[in-house]
Symmetry: C2
Subunit: 195 residues, 2 copies
């Protein structure tokens, strides 16, 4: 097995919501603007002070963080653990690929929206700049394998999609289930591998 | 990569509690006996009708299933997702290896016990009969790799410990975080692999 150096930082995504401006206003009031709490690893992206409650047929989850800026379409990213709790059969999808995905109820400070689609389990992925892609010898949308080496729970993640853009910083994004299966935390290193 | 046939059934373990007779009586009353709800895949093991609430510094989880029969020592098996919710820094351990592990509060129908140790995240493992071990060419306590091939979340679990006994049936046991990271359900097939 060949480990490609250097290792890549892990970013663990907890459940979160991206909102359209229309849905944001339905949830928080006409003309509402998101309030930045802290920047995320990807340039221009930020966690917001605002949170919502998401509700499915089997349960609700409170204090779900909104990530900004607003997007064209509302998208709710949950773990499969969350999917069971909510009773929503969410598919594994890349961000933005929400056609045919289930809907959900979102509750904000001043309103409720019923979104007809947009609930996904995010497909694990590596964000990278074109310079990183050149270094590792990979291309946008290529599927790679990633090794995590924490004691007792060493794992090789397959089906990791590489996303390349000059707007991206190098980061391996997984959800909380994937992080826990491999005992990974934010900032741990993992490696693209070949065998 | 060599896949060893036949594939092995997946058993997903949700959080559960094994109780000593002493703790069982403290929680449910003097002379109490567990009530079998349904048998488990391993011979002689069963899920009980009785459940408990488990409580840590950060939270509680209700309706945690007791597995029977009673054991020499009480042991609480949780996922890392649960560990974060409870606020208990549980280590990955094999069943029975509980020295130096954190304690927890358990609440039953008629009492409460504060156990001083026994909270673990179960190390993923394959139960097998000596005949299976001979077939796959592996030994008790050997570490193997296991391939799961569900679409979008193909994974290779390393650090899988093989446990061999003539009391065991062939089964790959993982917790809910591991199942969700690989989109696995009870009864799915996985394969021991070498490369």
């Amino acid at each position: 097995m060949i480990k490609k150096e250097p290792g890549i930082n892990v970013g663990v995504s907890n459940r979160h919501v991206h909102l359209s401006q229309k849905d944001l206003e339905a949830l928080f009031g006409v003309g509402y603007q998101l309030t930045e709490l802290k920047p995320l690893s990807q340039p221009g992206q930020f966690a917001c002070k605002e949170t919502v409650t998401i509700v499915g047929p089997k349960g609700a989850i409170e204090n779900v963080r909104i990530l900004g800026p607003v997007r064209k379409e509302t998208q709710v990213e949950i773990s499969r653990t969350d999917a069971f709790k909510l009773g929503i059969n969410a598919p594994v999808r890349e961000s933005g690929d929400i056609e045919g995905t289930p809907g959900i109820v979102i509750i904000g400070l001043k309103g409720v929206v019923v979104v007809e689609k947009g609930v996904i389990i995010a497909k694990r992925h590596i964000h990278m700049h074109p310079k990183d892609a050149e270094h590792y010898g990979v291309k946008d949308k290529q599927i790679v394998k990633v090794l995590a080496e924490k004691p007792e729970r060493r794992i090789i993640f397959d089906d990791v999609v590489v996303r390349v853009s000059d707007k991206f910083a190098l980061d391996f994004h997984i959800d909380t289930d994937e992080a826990n299966a491999a005992m990974l935390n934010n900032g741990d290193l993992v490696w693209i591998v070949e065998f």
